[in-house]
Amino acid sequence: MIEFKDVSKVYPNGTKGLNNVNIKINKGEFVVIVGLSGAGKSTLLRSINRLHEITSGEIIIDGKSITKARGKALLRCRRDIGMIFQNFNLVKRSTVLRNVLSGRVGYHSTIRTILGLFPKEDITIALNALKRVNLEEKAYSRADELSGGQQQRVSIARALAQEAKIILADEPVASLDPLTTKQVMDDLKRINKETGITTIVNLHFVDLARQYATRIVGVRAGEIVFDGSVEDATDDVFSSIYGRPVKQDEMLGAKV
């Protein structure tokens, strides 16, 4: 379970990223965060694994405060949280397998990992992770030989190899076409169902949010302005999250 307690974030230039956020996300949920550009979706997501530091409040993950974690404890917390980025963030010159294995570094000593001496079980874990996103035959290709959708699925495999309990995905499909978008979202959803991994995704397509989420959280100006089930997230609700009627280009359907 992830719990935000009075979390606020003020950027050094004075911008309020988050304003007194309180929210609980339960194990196994598939939460989609929606909101206008600049609403604070990324800030919210990245404060969970402390890629962004919050200014006040506390974030508790499975009973432990990540906000107070220092040194090794923080690394351990991060190891249990997989992250998927809009631009995949793979090392393009490395092989797919090495990219997936990089998710395992938190489990081994520094010396072992820098020499690349992963135990056999880790290779198996990495190959299994690739199998789950249907990319095992690409294990030894260079990452930049893959299409965008495939690269994003490799980054999902990296999170799986991490044996993460939570997956955070910041606009995972924003740089993909509608067809590959569906593949990537389907993979995330399937993995969420099969393993009960808590999944939090930032999306800006209204219809995608409705199609995949079990719960929708609306953010505006750093505050949570809606939190409810898909059924409750009517067009009117979206209009109020966005502060205006939903536009056609905010529907993926319109682009297909």
Partner: protein, 259 residues
């Protein structure tokens, strides 16, 4: 109307630049007492020297093979040492690896300072310390290579994609793992390429370091010149040329493969 004005202005700018270049060239050649006329006066002398160099003393080839190998060895060892020391400096000078200016500014400063010293001067400094011979040459080339490679590598590190670094932070990597999985794979090809490039420079440099007593074939070039053995001089020059061309060819092939 406006476009015409702009064109006239840019024409003016080019003209002024040209005049400036001519003035600078004229002033610096006057300052160093170089003149076209003295170059022309020297032509016959150069011609007769050239004739005296022919034919090369072919038997001398086998005699200078050992110093030639020593020259190459100096270049290899110097480049290797320099490249190894360059690695921590390149990392510690980079803003995206080390977040604190108190660290990266001093490292950059040392790096830039060392880069300004020419290799011949370095050799002249090391000869009194380490004595005449290839040790001084190796040290000079190490320091020189360090300057070249560290600077190029640091620029490569600062230009890498931030994405994989962020991803490595997110998986819970410690700083060393973060460097080995996020930074190293992105710069290793450039680093090896710069090292080979530096090696090419070093072979040339090593060939003249003997002039200041720092080992290698330069010593033989110096001696034969002093003794007016011009046929042996041409042997050394031809030998050096062949070695440099072959090494450049191999090195270039390797560098092409890296990209």
């Amino acid at each position: 109307m406006d476009a015409l004005k702009k064109r006239r202005l840019s024409l003016m700018k080019r003209l002024v630049t040209l005049i400036l270049i001519i003035i600078i060239l004229w002033a610096s050649s006057a300052g160093s007492e170089v003149s076209i006329s003295s170059l022309i006066d020297g032509l016959p002398g150069m011609g007769s020297l050239f004739l005296e160099m022919l034919p090369p003393d072919w038997s001398y080839f086998s005699y200078v093979t050992d110093p030639m190998l020593e020259t190459i060895r100096m270049a290899i060892i110097g480049t290797t040492y320099g490249a190894i020391i360059a690695i921590p400096f390149a990392l510690l000078s980079s803003r995206n690896v080390v977040k604190w200016p108190v660290i990266y500014y001093p490292f950059r400063f040392v790096m830039n300072l060392i880069r300004t010293i020419p290799e011949l001067l370095l050799a002249a400094l090391f000869v009194p310390v380490l004595g005449i011979g290839d040790n001084a040459g190796i040290m000079a080339l190490s320091v020189f290579s360090f300057g070249v490679i560290a600077k190029l590598a640091y620029e490569a590190v600062e230009a890498i994609d931030n994405g994989p670094l962020e991803a490595m932070t997110a998986v819970g990597a410690n700083k060393i793992q973060w460097i080995f999985y996020g930074v190293v794979p992105q710069v290793i090809a450039s680093f090896v390429s710069y090292t080979l490039y530096c090696f090419e420079i070093n072979v040339r440099a090593a060939a003249i370091l003997g002039y200041v007593g720092a080992g290698g074939i330069g010593l033989y070039l110096n001696n034969t010149l002093k003794l007016f053995q011009y046929q042996r001089v041409s042997t050394i020059i031809i030998y050096t040329l062949i070695v440099v061309v072959i090494i450049d060819m191999i090195s270039n092939k390797c560098r092409e493969k890296l990209i």
